[in-house]
């Protein structure tokens, strides 16, 4: 039984078009013409309880729109959404108690007050007892290493601490389904690692289901076994991250250290030359040609050192999006 089921989901936005210039402005004022933007088109997928799924796509691909339909903030134009057995847009109390949405660029904590005050309000809204409230705050604060920060005004916290406090506020009611929109946006590497570690721990401790978007590939590789790729409103990949790399990155990167007599022309015959500086070169070689190429290189060139590696995930995903829709 899948926890999230999305069936042929679409969202169209009307956008007013305005011609440039004064004439266009007047026309725009009196008689507005609209065109429709297909933010999400015919997207379908299912997510099982306990999964952590990464939602990838360039800016404007429709990730946030999809998350908003999944949380019931906006109404789908077409298609069906079911989350934990509920239709999100009806926003039933029992549904809202089971989900949470964390948005990296928006905050719910009161700026001028300690996070504790905002947390107390959330506890009252979700009807937690005083005892339960203290227990949960202590538990989450320990997982997030936040204990001594909760009594400072939020405006005095660092960005990383604030994000962690936001996370605490969003998870106080112990939701079963977490929607995270860029939860590590703008954080430094340490804070990113901390947030990631926390999400993993929360997922394991409570068996919660997580759907997250991120521009930091490290978030995705660390947390998600499965990724959804969305591009121009359409789903172009649904599957494991490893298979994605295999499918879209049939390349290896071969890095060699040479004696310094070799010119770039000598190297071009082995593969696509990515980098050539002094005596170090980096080549992109198709996977199936890897062994013969390396053998040839070792035979023909005076090589001091040679390493073979996968290209970075960012590059692979970038390649996928550049190539456009890929089935």
């Amino acid at each position: 039984m899948s926890l999230i089921r999305v069936d042929h989901l679409s969202k169209r936005y009307p956008v007013a078009i305005k011609q440039p210039g004064l004439k266009g402005t007047l026309q725009h004022f009196f008689r507005r013409t609209y065109r429709y933007i297909e933010a999400v088109q015919d997207v379908s997928f299912e997510i099982q309880p306990g999964e952590i799924v990464g939602f990838l796509g360039p800016n404007g691909a429709g990730k946030t729109t999809t998350l908003k339909m999944l949380t019931g903030l906006i109404h789908p134009s077409e298609g069906q959404v079911q989350v934990a057995g509920y239709t999100p847009f009806e926003r039933q109390t029992d549904f809202l108690r089971q989900i949470t949405l964390v948005m990296g660029q928006k905050q719910q904590l009161l700026w001028d007050l300690p996070a504790m005050d905002s947390l107390r309000i959330n506890a009252a809204i979700y009807g937690l007892s005083e005892k339960e409230f203290h227990y949960r705050v202590a538990e989450l604060a320990e997982m997030l290493f936040l204990a001594d920060k909760l009594s400072q005004p939020v405006r005095k916290l660092s960005l990383g601490e604030r994000m962690k406090a936001e996370m605490l506020a969003a998870l106080l009611h112990r939701p079963q389904v977490l929607f995270l929109d860029e939860p590590t946006l703008g954080l430094d590497v340490n804070a990113q690692v901390a947030v990631r570690g926390f999400l993993q721990e929360y997922n394991q401790r409570y068996g919660a289901t997580v759907l997250l978007t991120s521009h930091y590939m490290a978030d995705i590789t660390a947390l998600c076994q499965r990724v959804l790729l969305i591009y121009q409103g359409q789903m172009i990949y649904d599957g494991s991250l490893d298979k994605l790399l295999l499918q879209f990155a049939p390349y290896r990167e071969v890095k060699v250290e040479l004696d310094c007599q070799v010119s770039s022309n000598d190297l071009a015959s082995y593969g696509e030359l990515k980098m050539f500086e002094g005596c170090v070169a980096s080549l992109i070689v198709r996977r199936e040609a890897l062994t013969p190429t390396v053998t040839r290189m070792l035979a023909e060139l005076d090589i001091k050192d040679l390493t073979v590696s996968d290209p970075p995930v960012e590059e692979v995903i970038g390649r996928v999006f550049q190539a456009g829709a890929i089935a």
């Binding site: 949380t71 989900i99 009161l110 005050d117």
Partner: protein
Amino acid sequence: MQRYRQVLWLFWSTAIAAELEYRLNFLIAALSSLGSLAGSLFGLFLFYQTGYEFQNWSWEEALIVLGIFTVLQGVAATFLAPNLNKIVKHVQEGTLDFVLLKPISSQFWLSTRALSPWGVSDVLFGLGIIFYAGSRLGVSFSAYLVALPPLLLGAVSLYSLWFMLGATSIWFVKIYNVTEVLQGLIEAGRFPMAAYPAAYRVFFTFIVPVAFLTTVPAQTLLQRVEWGWIAGSALLAIALFQVSRWFWRFALRFYTSASS
């Protein structure tokens, strides 16, 4: 209900705590309300110094209207303005998302989340004027009590109108000006309705119900109101409140949420 009461208590106590972070504000608010009160007293005084009188309203009776107006202004500044003017901001910045995701009525949240204690000075000055004029007219204690319900009903009507205007920001996003217009029209409640020409009276009774905000409570206080007006006031308040609830649910269907 119990849960809502608890939430309301926390809303208000945190809001006051947040406001008190900025202590100088209180002095400024007190001075500004004193200033505006002096201004409207002077305006009223200009009418009456020459012996001119609004039809059937003596100087003291007109003062009561002004007092009620000032109290209402204070109540609006304390409870309504800090919340309802913020709906626009919530829509613009997309923080309405957080409100909509809480298992609690979003209208309740948006209408009660904040509280600004700075309207209190207006309430105090207004009460001062009412009691001063009331004592000169020999108004009995029970008359003050009887005037409370129509005043409350007026406040409910005002809230409902204001909330609906705020809710239109779902479509128009920038709507500050509209609430300014409403506030401008409410200013008309400073004087008894009798001060206005007939056409204006119709407008301020049936289109923007300013008459029900100050004149009707004042008439009740002076014990010369017809019961029809109080019934009308109640009917109006209940109807507007219901419409505001319906209107909010309707508006949310069009919410598209600010993009990131």
